[in-house]
């Protein structure tokens, strides 16, 4: 049903930090992705101009989101694509099930779709007797191992080839044990080819939906996306409602940003642009194309001008790759489908602060993500906003669970901090006392956490204020 339990972040982190193989796998892969991105965007002036353009395109598109969605729906419908709207995850799942049932379909082949992960679609369909088979290699691997993706772009990156060999050998009938990457790929190709041929329905995500022409754009390297959207007689496309852009001509720069950021390529193997189902006279392609547009909290995020920027995300995953925290704990520790910096701002807004607000504390505000986000989402600013909301007692706040962290100790501490830093005499006296007591302070709370790994800082016997009085400095 995709109603999530609050994430047990502390335990997740603890477990992840102990899993040295996991962290080795993740860091090695992220180093590669970071380097590839740097290489493909080697012209510093050019990438900044491109990011500014990406930000402008998204600003404009979201500025008229209802109009563009309306236009998208009209164009798609005129082209023969059936458009469905799902406010919640259960509705979205039901829509997919209904389409399958209307065709008596039991076999679904899936291209990679983060929205379908958000929906937990596979489990839902399986519970209704439908085989929902992942065909993207990374997703195929984690499906065999009954896991969720560890990264937005490379879902199985937390596994090394030994682990994958074992997963294949244990779960695919007649698969020989091999650690050779080409051989592993060949096994996947062979296994899935029959499935493509026989599938009743194919499902995909949507990278960009173009309102001007009613076109669904989907990028991929493997060819499974083309297979899922062309071989079966029915194609279902899933998208979040924030994925619409206005004009076809906006695709080239957006694709350059997405692909360069996600995989460090100039272009993926395939860029699919789908505008209609099979037309009379055409010999193949799905006879029915459905577009399911999912809300799941996005329209609520939309209403706040600052938080709206969360919806600029094009799901490139590069913020994850550059994040020092993600690189230490991997994707699963975040507890929700979207990990990393984007997860820190998206999940609390969708799931509510009580469930997911803790994720916003898992950032040192280093700005590495902001530096590389292709659409210039001010992620650290939004992390601060989520933190503000966590303590806020503003009755007009629209964020679910706002103020959940409010407690008299922290409120009082910060008030006292503000007083001490506004009245210099108090400040000076306080420092005197701390200078005296400093080393003898009980190691509780923050000091306890600090001194577990570090020597406690020593208050200087004389502060800078006192020292400057001795040298020739104008004090004012």
């Amino acid at each position: 049903m995709a109603i999530h339990q609050p994430v047990d972040f502390e335990n997740n982190v603890s477990r992840a930090l102990k899993d040295t193989q996991l962290i080795r796998n993740i860091q090695s892969a992220m180093d590669t992705l970071v380097l590839k991105r740097k290489t493909v965007f080697s012209d510093a002036a050019e990438i900044e101009k491109l990011r500014a353009l990406g930000n402008s395109i998204k600003t404009n598109a979201l500025g008229k989101l209802p109009e563009l969605l309306q236009q998208l729906e009209e164009k798609c419908t005129a082209n023969g694509i059936q458009v469905h709207w799902a406010e919640t995850i259960p509705e979205a799942n039901q829509l997919v099930l209904d389409i399958m049932k209307s065709h008596g379909a039991t076999r679904l082949v899936k291209g990679k779709s983060m929205v379908s992960e958000e929906m937990e679609l596979n489990a839902y369909l399986q519970a209704h007797g439908i085989e929902a088979l992942e065909t993207d290699l990374g997703e195929f691997i984690i499906q065999l191992n009954n896991e969720t993706p560890a990264h937005i772009i490379v879902p199985a990156i937390h596994k090394n080839r030994d682990q994958i060999s074992k997963i294949f050998h244990d779960n695919i009938p007649d698969a020989p044990y091999t650690e050779n990457v080409d051989e592993l790929n060949a096994i996947a190709r062979q296994t899935l080819r029959k499935k493509f041929e026989k599938a009743d329905v194919g499902l995909s995500g949507v990278n960009f939906a173009v309102a001007e022409t009613g076109t669904l754009c989907l990028v991929e390297n493997e060819g499974n996306g083309r297979m899922c959207t062309t071989a079966p007689p029915v194609h279902i496309a899933l998208m979040g409602l924030e994925k619409v852009i206005e004009k076809l001509e906006e695709l080239p720069p957006m694709l350059r940003l997405l692909i360069g950021s996600a995989t460090g390529q100039l272009i993926t193997t395939y860029v699919n642009m789908i505008t209609s189902p099979r037309k009379p006279g055409e010999k193949d392609g799905p006879k029915e194309v459905h577009l399911v547009i999912l809300d799941n909290g996005r329209s609520k995020i939309y209403a706040d001008p600052q938080r709206r920027q969360t919806l600029y995300c094009i799901r490139c995953g590069t913020c994850l790759s550059h994040c020092p925290v993600y690189n230490r704990i991997g994707g699963h520790a975040y507890g929700y489908i979207y990990p990393g910096p984007i997860g820190k701002i998206l999940n609390p807004q969708v799931e509510g602060l009580e469930a997911a607000g803790v994720l916003a504390t898992a950032s040192s505000l280093c700005n590495a993500c902001e530096e590389v986000c292709p659409v210039r989402i001010p992620i650290p600013e939004l992390i601060r906003r989520i933190r503000n909301e966590s303590y806020s007692n503003d009755p007009d706040s629209a964020v679910a669970g706002h103020g959940y962290k409010r407690n008299w100790i922290e409120s009082l501490t910060w008030k006292m901090w503000a007083v001490a830093n506004t009245y210099p005499l108090l400040n000076a006296i306080g420092l005197r006392i701390l200078g005296f007591l400093g080393a003898k302070l009980p190691k509780v709370g923050p000091l306890k956490h600090w001194t577990r790994y570090r020597k406690a800082p020593e208050f200087a016997p004389r502060s800078l204020h006192e020292l400057v009085k001795q040298i020739g400095v104008d004090h004012e």
Binding site: P66, W85, L137, E197, R226, P305
Partner: protein, 221 residues
């Protein structure tokens, strides 16, 4: 149910639009990259070869002979092709003269429902392309009723015949010159090489679900 959800979603979005209205930002488009003809061909070839495409620049008058050489180097039983097209007719007349050592020509002439099982056993498919893009190095596949989509996807080898004059400098140029926004077909696919993945340990491996091999014949007139 979908209609009520739609109404509720739109109600929230419209309210959000009113509450947080934004100014339209002027777009600063990227400077267009343009190349001369020779450089376009060279770029396309270099970039596609880097992605393991096999690229042959050949004379427009002798391309079928070139194709014959390519096919004879590989042991292939069958080649699916589009009949009732210039490409198809050229192939048919060549095969009629002498099909020795060549794969069997299989026309894609019925709806897929009657052809799917067969198609999945065919070794190679040959198609034209609507053009290509020099930067970032991709073919523009524009399937039609005569050249169906699965021809370039299901067989393990895809042979694409491209006219050198139809190479554009950039994706944007191709869209604008071709007025795509006024006439998007059922499906357009940019293809930059044979299928690949790096999902396992970021190690690049070719030939996953799409064709394992992509062979491009660039026809120079």
């Amino acid at each position: 149910m979908s209609k009520q959800s739609r109404d509720r979603i739109f109600a929230r979005l419209m309210a959000g639009s009113r509450q947080a209205a934004t100014q339209t930002v002027t777009l600063n488009p990227m400077p267009a990259k343009t190349y001369q003809r020779a450089e376009k061909i060279d770029r396309l070839k270099t970039l596609m070869e880097a992605m393991r495409t096999e690229v042959h620049i050949t004379n427009a008058s002798g391309w079928v002979e070139q194709l014959e050489d390519i096919l004879k180097q590989r042991e292939m039983d069958s080649l699916v092709y589009p009949p009732q097209t210039a490409l198809g007719e050229a192939l048919e007349s060549h095969w009629e003269k002498d099909a020795g050592g060549l794969p069997q020509l299989i026309p894609y002439e019925t709806e897929i429902e009657a052809f799917k099982a067969k198609l999945f056993t065919i070794d190679a498919g040959i198609t034209t392309v609507a053009g290509a893009i020099a930067d970032p190095g991709a073919l523009i596949l524009w399937p039609t009723d005569k050249e169906p989509r699965l021809m370039s996807l299901v067989p393990s080898v895809h042979i694409a015949v491209l006219e050198a004059d139809s190479i554009y400098s950039s994706f944007l140029e191709a869209m604008q010159a071709g007025k795509w926004s006024t006439k998007m077909p059922t499906n357009v696919v940019l293809i930059s090489g044979p299928s690949k993945t790096a999902d396992i340990e970021m190690t690049l491996a070719f030939g996953v679900h799409g064709p394992r091999e992509l062979i491009v014949l660039i026809l120079e007139s």
